[in-house]
């Protein structure tokens, strides 16, 4: 009987613990009810500063964000749409076709931010459904311990020194990677990817992973996003960014969901994001802002001013990219996936 008593006490103790635990979870849930929720594919070091700045500029507005790959966020939104309510108020990723798709589905709020006329607009058919809030670039990064002569052309990746040592993030997970694949395929044809495959190119995981793998020497080179690279070099990683002349520029659109119950706060966030303060923050992290009036740090590698960068960028018809997205990913995976 005594034993049973012990077990009962144990059970009680656990019960009280978990009631306490769940209680606090519940509180967190209701708290997020008043919070502006931002889904973004921007990494912690970029989004955190911007959200903190926004909170400082708008006391009283609580903001929470979820930073994850664009693919993951869209999967979440898919499930949330099924459930009838999208949790996020604002979405900011780099997967442009997704925004066209959402616009067609009619789930984006139409809001023409007054700040946007001060910005560089990469979208010919801009109608207020979404705004570009950053012009991300991708280049080739190399591990400086392993590669002495930095590549200057896309075709350099077909050289034997990169045999089995070049990686691209999985386009299914990473929006920037998907856009890069679409752009490169348009510019050089799928043939280029067949050649890459022949040289043993690998599919990595997320856009940050390939950079870490390059820094560790697992890969000698990879296709990498500017500000993530910048952050890693800042921390001492032995990598270097190289931009071939055909520039990969991927606009990162920001949009507000029609279902949002906090539209005023969301609009303020979009305005803030396009404003000088946030864009300075964007530039400081090592990526191209959408404002000409923001200075670029150009500490570890040289970024172009937004207008010039967009002029030099490889272009793709976004509306078309929506239709071909699935096929592009499929084709890419077909070519690069290792067949066992």
């Amino acid at each position: 009987m005594k034993k049973l008593g012990y077990v009962a006490v144990a059970a009680l103790a656990l019960m009280s613990l978990l009631v306490g635990g769940c209680g606090s979870d519940k509180k967190a849930d209701t708290a997020s009810g008043n919070k502006l929720i931002v889904y973004t594919s921007m990494k912690e070091n970029l989004i955190r500063g911007i959200v903190d700045g926004f909170k400082k500029a708008n006391p009283g507005i609580e903001v929470d964000y979820q930073s994850a790959g664009a693919g993951k966020l869209m999967a979440k939104i898919a499930a949330e749409r099924q459930s009838g309510k999208i949790l996020a108020d604002v979405i900011w990723t780099s997967e442009v076709p997704d925004f066209y798709k959402m616009k067609m589905d009619g789930i984006l709020e139409n809001y023409k931010s007054p700040v946007y006329k001060e910005c560089v607009n990469p979208f010919d058919d801009y109608d207020g459904s979404f705004h570009a809030a950053r012009l991300g670039t991708l280049g080739i990064i190399v591990n400086t311990d392993k590669i002495k002569n930095a590549p200057t052309q896309w075709s350099d990746l077909l050289k034997p020194e990169y045999k089995n040592k070049f990686g691209i993030a999985n386009p299914a997970l990473s929006g920037t990677s998907y856009m890069s694949v679409a752009l490169l395929a348009k510019q050089f044809g799928w043939d280029y990817f067949y050649k890459l495959k022949a040289n043993g190119a690998r599919i990595g995981k997320g856009s940050g992973q390939v950079i870490d793998d390059t820094a560790s020497g697992e890969l000698y080179a990879s296709l990498a996003v500017d500000y993530i690279t910048h952050g890693k070099i800042e921390k001492g990683a032995h990598i270097k960014m190289c931009y071939p002349p055909e520039l990969l520029v991927v606009p990162s659109p920001v949009a507000i969901f029609k279902d949002s119950t906090k539209k005023d706060a969301a609009k303020k966030f979009v305005d803030y994001l396009l404003g000088k303060e946030a864009q300075t923050q964007v530039a400081k992290q090592g990526t191209i802002p959408v404002r000409e009036d923001v200075a670029l740090p150009n500490k570890h590698f040289d970024l172009l001013k937004p207008v010039l960068a967009w002029k030099k960028a490889m272009k793709v018809n976004f509306t078309e990219a929506v239709k071909t997205k699935e096929n592009t990913i499929k084709k890419f995976t077909e070519i690069l996936q290792v067949k066992k």
Binding site: D25, G69, M74, A75, K85, Q209, E218, I228
Partner: protein, 564 residues
């Protein structure tokens, strides 16, 4: 509370238990699975098998299924051999420090396999793994010695961290086994080999098989290790394929439907495996606890005592200590890829993760409370359901037997999809984006563990004990309380831990269900890693390991007291 219940009311209790059992299984397990099947075959309410067929005939689906099966088979075979051998060593031989070694072999259970996979990736990735570069430098090799991104690598890592499933089961069976059976064989002149073959192995075979089955099903539906080690080399299994498909969705429901089709494949395969196992096991059925307890006879290892002890320690050192050390060291460098030297190390990452990274606190609170609640609910539900299945003779038991098989054949990733379909508002209750949806999924996911542990314990309680108590005039409830529950309590406690600890670092289910405020520890680590914050994710993994070990030690201490 129910000492006053009279004999005739036992019929009522039996039916209440049966009813609750069926309800629990239906709500938590059957309903989500039905929805999966429904969505796989029905589009907008009308039957549509062509989509199903289209997904099914994709070569990648077939390949993923093969991969799932292949990796799971290798893992199962490896884990069964390793687990059974070590179990035998610590229970039936005179290995030095047996008790300590037994505890040590449970340690791998604490190390989440995907954290292990992260560590092994750092140690054995072909071009930069620390062991590989060390060996290449040492012998001046041009090619890496090991490649962890292979089927072998994935299975080996899974074996390292999954073998305790078999180990625990076999240890329990060997300890509880009536040694008089072996002794009588010995007295009748049988040699050690004959005894092992004819007595010991048949007696512990059910335990070995049930452990192996758990591993097979677990591995087949396992996300973490394959996601960390396989994807880059194009090795997908069904769960990673579902994960990836869903992430190609671009916000549409189509890919979720593709997921339901893949899930159906997984469920059918799992069911087939269970059916095969049942077929094999139905041949021999033993009740091996006779209500008495003996000290089992020990085999003298003689000259092999210390070499074997050394081998065990080396195994633990290699599979546990080495990866753990790597996790803690990499968690200390400022960015991944820097050499692991003192000048590159600092506590900054740990400080950031502990105090500045808001997700950490949320994740720990979420995982601990989810684990506790899920383990408690599942433990009690499990003992109730297994009692009905194993011991009771009531009408309607057949339904329960069928439903009781379901949790075994429904892998984690399928459950995750199922609960999304079931609990996200279409049917009145919307739990999506709350911790409750993860709790519901955990209960469904771990029901199998609880049923397994509890029914194993119940099966070994001889019917005669209950019959004796009933014939002496005890009520149904009295004999349950005074005879059955005390005897199966070890089973219940082991069910609790079989659930609580895995739930603490669960990844497969939570990765599909988390929301900004409901990340679990596993999700937090995995997403950090996937987002390329390798050093941060290992720092968090290190903190999680400390948490798990401390928790386990506390609980061990606590339950030892309660169990004595």
């Amino acid at each position: 509370m129910s000492n006053g219940i009279k004999k005739e009311s036992s019929f009522g209790i039996a039916h209440v238990i049966l009813f609750i059992s069926i309800a629990v299984l239906c709500i938590f397990v059957a309903w989500p699975v039905l929805l999966i099947l429904f969505n796989a075959f029905f589009v907008n309410g009308s039957f549509n098998s062509s989509d199903f067929y289209a997904v099914l005939t994709e070569p990648e689906t077939f390949q993923a299924l093969l991969n799932s099966l292949f990796i799971a088979s290798m893992t199962t075979i490896g884990s069964t051999i390793v687990g059974t051998f070590f179990a035998w060593l610590v229970t039936r031989t005179d290995l030095p420090y047996k008790k300590f070694m037994k505890g040590l072999f449970l340690v791998p259970f604490m190390l989440p396999s995907f954290i292990g996979a992260l560590a092994w990736k750092m140690l054995l990735s072909p071009n930069s793994g620390y062991i590989n570069t060390f060996l290449m430098d040492l012998f001046g090799l041009q090619e890496p010695v090991f490649n962890i991104y292979t089927y072998m690598g994935i299975s080996a890592v899974e074996v390292m961290y999954l073998f305790p499933f078999v180990f625990i089961q076999v240890c329990g069976a060997l300890e509880r086994m009536d040694p008089t059976l072996e002794e009588s064989a010995r007295i009748s002149g049988a040699g050690l080999f004959t005894i092992t073959r004819k007595i010991t192995i048949p007696l512990v075979l059910p335990s070995i098989m049930s452990g192996a089955l758990l591993i097979m099903l677990y591995s087949m539906a396992h996300f973490g290790t394959v996601a960390v080690l396989g994807i880059e080399n194009g090795i997908y299994n069904i769960p990673t394929l579902i994960y990836e498909k869903i992430h190609q969705s671009g916000g549409s429901f189509e890919s979720i439907r593709t997921g339901t089709v893949l899930s159906t494949v997984l469920v059918v395969t799992a069911a087939a495996i269970i059916w095969a196992q049942q077929k094999i096991l139905s041949k021999g059925h033993y009740q091996i606890i006779g209500g008495k307890s003996f000290r089992p006879m020990e085999l003298k290892l003689r000259g092999l005592r210390y070499p074997l002890l050394f081998a065990c320690l080396a195994y633990i050192g290699f599979t546990i200590v080495l990866p753990t050390v790597v996790i803690f060291m990499v968690g200390g460098v400022s960015t991944y890829g820097l050499p692991l030297t003192w000048e590159n190390m600092s506590l900054d990452n740990y400080k950031y993760i502990l105090f500045d990274y808001e997700v950490t606190k949320d994740a720990i609170i979420n995982s601990v409370s989810l684990g506790l609640v899920a383990a408690l609910i599942t433990m009690f539900a499990g003992v109730m359901i297994s009692y009905v299945i194993v011991k009771m003779k009531v009408k309607g038991k057949g339904i329960l037997e069928f439903l009781g098989m379901l949790p075994f054949s429904v892998p984690g990733s399928v459950i995750a999809l199922g609960v999304i379909l079931a609990w996200s508002g279409q049917f009145g209750i919307n739990l999506y984006n709350t911790v409750w949806i993860i709790l519901v999924a955990y209960i469904a996911r771990y029901m199998a563990f609880s049923l397994k542990a509890n029914s194993a314990a119940l099966e070994q309680v001889h019917d005669s004990l209950m019959e004796a108590s009933r014939s002496c005039g005890a009520s149904m409830w009295q004999s349950l309380k005074d005879i059955v529950i005390p005897l199966v309590r070890p089973g219940m406690i082991s069910a609790f831990f079989l659930i609580f600890l895995p739930a603490l670092r669960e990844l497969t289910v939570s990765i599909m269900l988390y929301a900004p405020t409901t990340r679990t520890i596993g999700v937090a680590i995995y997403t950090l890693n996937e987002d390329g914050e390798t050093v941060m994710s290992t720092a968090l993994a290190g903190i999680a390991l400390i948490l798990i070990v401390v928790g386990q030690t506390l609980i061990n201490h606590f339950t030892k007291k309660a169990g004595e």
